[in-house]
Point group: C2
Chain length 261, copies 2
């Protein structure tokens, strides 16, 4: 099977023009087939302020009312997505920027929650793997914005980590998938206050141990649970680390590898 590298970049790098530009230069040089997922960063919040659209956050999640959906569609699928694509093209990486509506690539439904109305938030139903395969076969690199649709005409705001994970799972039947979550830290840390305490490798047993000993920072647990869920669905390896070190993350020289063995 061909190797496929799926990279998710978080908001902190999108908010930093120089870091983003350096990252994209590195990403463009990856020789394997690849997909990039990006989140939103602070631009949507800033635009909402400029447009006087109040933003409601519950447990760190944005409530997506109709005006907010319009803003995230403009910022994520428009401004951020197209600027990333233009920069990748400048670095001779033939990228195509898409939302989940394009090519019906990611089908979702409006989140149903007993006590809470999240508005136009989408939970993923299906990833159109043949659409991605066709692009990858032509050496085109998909760049996914965190916007999906329900195939009834409704766009939906969808968590980029989840899109990365579901896409990795769906494509693991056809490729040897490596999923890379990049964020602001060097990897999973044994000691939150010590940037040098990166754990090189975590398998399921070690993860259980770390959790039992209370050594895993609470904020990392959902990320790691997702990583193991991806592994259990066929993804070969999940790597967590800094976007600025993408080359070294892929080679396993930096970051934290989440693996079976």
């Amino acid at each position: 099977m061909d190797k496929l590298i799926i990279v998710k970049i978080g908001g902190n790098i999108i908010d930093d023009e120089n870091k983003l530009s350096l990252f994209l230069k590195d990403f463009a040089t990856i020789g394997e087939k690849k997909i990039l997922m990006h989140g939103g960063g602070k631009l949507a919040t800033r635009l909402a302020e400029q447009m006087n659209v109040p933003q409601q956050m519950v447990d760190g999640r944005r409530i997506t009312d109709a005006e907010t959906l319009k803003i995230v569609t403009m910022v994520y699928a428009g401004y951020i997505n197209k600027n990333i694509v233009a920069q990748l093209q400048a670095n001779d990486c033939n990228a195509i920027g898409i939302s989940g509506a394009d090519g019906n690539s990611i089908l979702a439904h409006k989140r149903v929650h007993a006590a809470m109305d999240y508005g136009f938030a989408g939970d993923i139903d299906e990833v159109n793997s043949s659409f991605f395969q066709n692009l990858l076969q032509q050496n085109i690199t998909p760049v996914l914005a965190p916007i999906t649709h329900n195939k009834k005409g409704q766009l939906l705001n969808t968590n980029a980590d989840t899109i990365a994970q579901e896409t990795a799972k769906a494509l693991s039947s056809f490729y040897d998938v490596q999923l890379i979550y990049s964020f602001e830290k060097d990897g999973v840390l044994l000691d939150v206050d010590d940037a040098g305490s990166v754990i090189k490798k975590i398998n399921a047993d070690y993860y259980r141990e770390l959790k039992e000993e209370g050594k895993i920072f609470a904020g990392m647990i959902p990320k790691l649970d997702n990583a193991f869920s991806a592994l259990n669905s066929g993804v070969k390896k999940v790597i967590i680390g800094k976007a600025e070190e993408i080359g070294k993350l892929i080679k396993g020289e930096k970051g934290t590898s989440i693996t079976h063995d």
Copy 2:
């Protein structure tokens, strides 16, 4: 050669949610291979007002400074493009929304003008016909926003009529191309004040005659010049008419046909 229908819809239909939705329903039913080009409408102007970004117009053209480029990228390639795609998907038309940066589909350069700085306005250099052919072969319908790039990382604001024309020309080597310009009127009128005076058919001789007799409304002349330029570059037929009558325009039952014979 396969038939290919290229439709350009103007701002007036984009600004009207109901009309747009009906148009997209009709467009989705077109059996031939097809491409949709859309303009921007008044949404970008409205957003610029909300964001307090002054808009400078010269001879009806928007001067695209950096802030305006950001706005049109968000509105054209984000909000409008993704909403059109989501609606086409709902109508079982497998659409993909792209800018000229995506798949390096439309290459342009920043407009050079001796006396005027148009800002980030793009003039087209090349249409990547093999990219469009690949999508069309898979029965995917490209939906193009009027944003291009220079392959050096710069996005550029580009006239949608021109994109439609250049794409039609480039693809006429591979398809039997019909180019449809839809606007607010029923077609080219003999008498601007009489909506019933639609001219059914114009060829080069008749066009010369109409111009000599001063019977063509000045505003139509650039559109018709473009239409004849497209014809002379291999496009089979250009039709000008109302988006609401797209089915009848294609069948030649409505609108004005611009043809060789």
